[in-house]
């Protein structure tokens, strides 16, 4: 009987130890970026870059859960990317903490951190981003910035850049969305 009590006591203590986490929940926060972002460039450098200034405070889910926010468990970029050029394009996304307004890719790469990608899109092709694959394309450094800024003031800037695979690139990002899964304990 003593052994039975030991087993029950151990299990009950273990359950009580986990009891502090019983009120948490996960929620999905969606930030809608520009409907269209045209990104172009040549061997000489970028001629147009995509920019989405994210302010999560505009997102009701984020505002309502921020006080109990514990972690960003998942982050993804959604939308579609169309290759308007004649060579393979290689879109990638960078992030800078806070609001920035860089106008060329060299400045973004020098001051931001890689966030997502790259992926290859054939000439004339269009890729609808998959939520699962997109989440897997988020890099560790970019994920850190997103987590830090989400826990902070909720502001950061995402840039869409191209990588030259031939002599130029030309692609369009449509219906851009930044989607976060937040862990919160109200």
């Amino acid at each position: 009987m003593r052994r039975a009590h030991l087993v029950w006591s151990s299990m009950t203590l273990a359950l009580l130890a986990g009891g502090c986490n019983l009120s948490s929940r996960t929620v999905i926060a969606e930030f809608a970026g520009p409907a269209v972002m045209d990104v172009t460039g040549t061997l000489a450098g970028s001629t147009a870059i995509g920019r989405a200034e994210v302010d999560l405070n505009q997102v009701a889910v984020y505002r309502n859960t921020k006080s109990g926010l514990q972690a960003v468990s998942d982050f993804a970029l959604l939308g579609s990317i169309k290759n308007n050029g004649l060579t393979i394009v290689r879109p990638e996304f960078y992030v800078t903490a806070d609001s920035t307004a860089f106008t060329n890719a060299a400045f973004v790469r020098a001051n931001g951190v890689p966030l997502w990608g790259p992926i290859d899109i054939v000439p004339g092709g269009s890729v609808a981003l998959d939520w699962n694959k997109s989440a897997a394309l988020v890099g560790p450094r970019g994920r850190e910035v997103i987590a830090r800024e989400t826990a902070g003031d909720g502001r950061f800037t995402i840039y869409a850049l191209g990588v030259v695979t031939g002599t130029s690139y030309n692609f369009t990002v449509q219906d851009f969305r930044a989607v976060l899964i937040l862990e919160t304990d109200p």
């Binding site: 052994r3 039975a4 019983l22 996960t26 809608a32 468990s73 694959k133 219906d175 989607v179």
Partner: protein
């Protein structure tokens, strides 16, 4: 489905085994083997939908009122659909691989007795899905089972349980509902 077992998992397994050692036989031991299947329902998780669960159990009745049951279980969370900007996307659910043991107050279908039995459990839970770094954590469970004895050593099992997997300051929680069948081997002297 992929999963790996690391050093921390081994440590956890040792603790579970140590726990089982507390329940070392006082009298004869009755050992069984069971399989089960059912549904795993995520609680308060906007990104994870219900999905199937299956597993195996090894019930051991060694004490007067307590049965110990090591288990191995796999649950696949369902795909969660959301519409963003007029497009529909889906996020794959968590694949949850767990092993551990429960302690039940009752005979769990081993011989005559009250058919309902409450139980608590402790185990290692590995949550993984594409695009999210996998994590392995201790998980805790509590539930109620119902055993219905059948001839020649078989018994049907129906269980409902709540599982809590702490993930830092928060947790992932599930309600598991499953049905199973177990076979009782001859008592070990």
């Amino acid at each position: 489905m992929r999963f790996t077992i690391g050093k921390r998992d081994h440590a956890r397994a040792l603790v579970v085994l140590a726990l089982l050692a507390f329940a070392a036989p006082v009298h004869a031991v009755t050992v069984g083997l069971g399989v089960f299947g059912g549904e795993s329902l995520p609680l308060a998780q906007a990104d994870n939908d219900p999905g199937p669960q299956w597993g195996v159990r090894v019930p051991v009745h060694a004490l007067a009122n307590v049965s110990i049951e090591p288990f191995f279980a796999v649950a696949d969370g369902g795909r969660h659909e959301e519409t963003f900007g007029g497009r529909t996307y889906d996020r794959i659910g968590f694949n949850v691989v767990s092993y551990g043991a429960i302690a039940a107050w009752g005979r769990m279908g081993f011989g005559a007795g009250f058919p309902l039995y409450p139980y608590v459990g402790l185990g290692s839970y590995r949550l993984a899905r594409e695009g999210t770094a996998p994590r392995t954590e201790w998980g805790y469970s509590a539930g109620v089972g119902y055993a219905y004895g059948l001839p020649v050593g078989f018994a049907l099992q129906a269980r409902s349980e709540v599982v809590v997997v702490p993930t830092g300051e928060t947790s992932r929680r599930f309600v598991n509902l499953n049905l199973g069948v177990q076979f009782r081997f001859h008592p070990v002297p």
